[in-house]
Symmetry: C2
Subunit: 468 residues, 2 copies
């Protein structure tokens, strides 16, 4: 297989690194927080900024696509070879909320380079990982002498990923004719570590709900009534306690129906990763590991579904005590789901289960607030092999496999576009997604640039659906 000259790619990247990082910092200064209505204008400004920058990069078509929520950015750069495969890159330009008082050492929307790290909200999730595609395609062209990419390149960068992508599915259904692709590359995930580059083969899905429980019509005196009426906080707690069995398996009947179990080979590859549980716990900031019996920590977070309490409350919240039977309680639950599980089936299973578990006198409502499907690419998929080769050239070491415990709209792309979804991300666990002091490792960011500089040629030559 002929290859883009690696040295030409590296020379081009080195020459353009400073401008690239300055541009990225300009983008990071825009607080495109999709969850906070007061930042709606900033999210729009972020979309406009990106569209402009993609035009400047050379994409002949750049568009801002409106949705009922925040706008997405779409760009196209067709190959001069009509027979070339079409690749759609997915990322997002919105970010999680961030405020100095959450524990940031510097203003979250004032990017700061400290050593080899760039700190800012969105540095890794996901602006940095979207942005490496700009310099990547330029390096690809420069090193190959091409004027158009070796693949028909499309980018779709949404603006509501951090708000659960409420309009994404409708958007891609509406625009399906523009988005057709042979393969989807999602750049919104991470690698194992700085020293162990990996490619992700799948993401967990997610369904979320809020359960509101009602008891007495108002808070009532626990001396006068306590012990003889049902307490909605107790009922809420019992639901949570019953969510899992003694093996930490989810105890909701039907929850595991249809699940794609891990293969022996996948478990072997997971086990070969240099996993240090003590180090992982430090990253997790947890003081213990705990999960489903019979599975390793990596299997638990990557390949096993979960039921998690994200928030709960009920009764008196102030200082000291108040002797009441509370009137209401709530649970915010989320369920990570894996390949083979269907969001609608899981929602129904939980809904049915809750209905059978509450005592007389406790009312309830469940609101399902979002669903994301899981996705998974088989290890022997040819496009996955292209990604592995391109990364191998950039990192100059073997590429291993991971999965992602988090969730994203990747599966919607897979379903609507009927194309395989691959993951190309260079973030590492210490980057602090959704946390204070988010950062990206600059060396890895440039490896991301380099990987994409090789990837389009490899995909064009080997074909995304041919045998490797």
């Amino acid at each position: 297989m002929s290859q883009t000259p690696d040295s030409a790619v590296r020379t081009y990247i080195a020459a353009n690194r400073i401008d690239f990082l300055e541009d990225l910092q300009d983008w990071l200064r825009i607080p495109s927080v999709s969850a906070q209505p007061e930042h709606a204008d900033d999210v729009r400004r972020s979309a406009d900024w990106l569209a402009g920058k993609l035009k400047e990069t050379g994409f002949p078509t750049t568009e801002v696509w409106e949705t009922p929520g925040a706008p997405a950015v779409y760009a196209e750069w067709p190959s001069d070879n009509p027979a070339a495969p079409t690749v759609l890159v997915y990322g997002h330009h919105d970010v999680q909320p961030a405020a100095l008082e959450d524990g940031w050492h510097t203003e979250p929307f004032e990017p700061v380079v400290r050593g080899n790290r760039l700190h800012a909200r969105g540095a890794a999730d996901d602006k940095g990982q979207v942005f490496f595609h700009t310099l990547g395609v330029r390096a690809h062209l420069a090193a190959t002498g091409r004027t158009t990419p070796a693949v028909h390149l499309k980018l779709l960068i949404e603006g509501e990923e951090e708000s659960g992508s409420p309009n994404f599915r409708a958007l891609i259904e509406d625009r399906k004719d523009r988005l057709t692709a042979d393969v989807v590359i999602v750049s919104d995930t991470g690698m194992w570590s700085e020293t162990t580059p990996t490619v992700c083969t799948g993401m967990r899905g997610l369904v979320e709900c809020q359960i509101d429980l009602s008891g007495p019509d108002q808070d009532i005196h626990s001396g006068s009534f306590g012990g003889a009426v049902p307490n909605p906080a107790t009922a809420a707690a019992r639901l949570v306690a019953a969510l899992h069995d003694e093996h930490a398996r989810v105890a909701v009947p039907g929850f595991y129906d249809g699940i794609t179990e891990l293969t022996a080979r996948e478990r072997e590859l997971f086990a070969e990763l240099p996993f240090d549980e003590a180090e992982w716990l430090r990253t997790a900031k947890s003081h213990g590991a705990y999960g489903e019996t019979g599975y390793s920590t990596l299997e638990r977070i990557w390949a096993r579904p979960t039921a998690e309490v994200n928030g709960m409350g009920g009764g008196y919240q102030g200082a000291g005590g108040k002797t009441i039977v509370p009137s209401s309680a709530f649970l915010k639950l989320s369920f990570r789901i894996v390949a083979g599980q269907d969001p609608a089936r899981v929602e129904q299973a939980v809904t049915d289960w809750v209905a059978t578990r509450l005592p007389e006198g406790i009312g309830h409502t469940i609101n399902w607030t979002g669903a994301t499907r899981p996705c998974l690419t088989p290890l022997d998929h040819p496009a996955l092999q292209s990604v592995v080769r391109a990364m191998g050239r950039a990192f100059e070491q073997p590429i291993r496999f991971t999965r992602e415990g988090g969730s994203g709209p990747a599966a919607d792309l897979q379903d609507v576009l009927e194309a395989p979804v691959l993951f190309l991300g260079i973030s590492v666990p210490s980057d602090g997604w959704h946390a204070p002091n988010e950062k990206v490792e600059l060396d890895l960011l440039m490896k991301g640039v380099e990987t994409t500089a090789y990837l389009w040629g490899d995909l064009a030559e080997s074909g995304p659906t041919a045998a490797p």
Copy 2:
């Protein structure tokens, strides 16, 4: 047994009713909310007002007793018969917080008479029930022609009952020499109903705690880590769920140790009360009855200990969802306890139990924030029989027995003064203690006046410790 002429008592009360009610309304205008620091001056004003009114009533000794918190009022009116028994009346002059926006139809500290009801915060709990002792002792003197009461009469009206009486035990220990009594009469409870007058024979005790649980050092991403680390909200919920067994009995080992079980006679008397569960549920504003298997609702609230969640929280509390494993969670628990249970033993049992029930990686602290002992007077106690007779004359019908599910400092009086504690209260469940639109029934209030007008003579004659 010779008796105070009932007609003379009634004539005196009728002649003084209007002044009595005007005075009470003056007192109710003072917002003596002990839980709110901004009302500290009002609580003091309430104490001074009461001390002045007791002096005016004829008590030769009236004092305002300082505590590290709010002041109490003490008054003494010795009998001219040195051999007379000594009676200590207990009540409180502080009130629960109240604000129009909580659902009051009129300003809570602007008393309003509507029909036969006086509405104001404190009308029943407890200013009305303290105040009937003023006109009561005057009626006793007027009807008997005495110039001093038939008993050595002492009043101790504390100012921090609604804040858990934090300084009460120390106060009565310090002033034990002044407070010695043959019997204590607590006027801070209620009766069955307007048509079924009752005397209360005991109160549940109370221990309260806050349990704080810690998990990861900060909220962490539930996609990246969920399913493999322990969740403190889940741990909190499991504690709550494990508090009770399938019979709704408290499952903490040792919790029931030493408990005084209900006698067959007490259960019989409870069962004879005209209890309408549907009506009771309406009062409770609960949509179902639920409690310990094998006990009736009345037994559950009066004579059985409980474990109640008064408040709980953890993780994300805002609108929508947030996919985190929360860093912390808390529980505010209270345990009602009954005769035979000791607060310190219950606290130890719960503390020991919690320590065994948390997974590795979940830290915890327990803060015990208050303890009130239970108390119980045997049905055949002679002073209890005096109360029953005095009430019987006032109400002109048989007096039945109840208990009180709530808790108060009565047991401290019992312990420190080594005197039996009796309850004389005329409040009814619809009075709305701690709730908006608290009221007192004026007819019952005057029956309270009348009962005390008979009680001192009866106690002096029959003796608080003689056989009935």
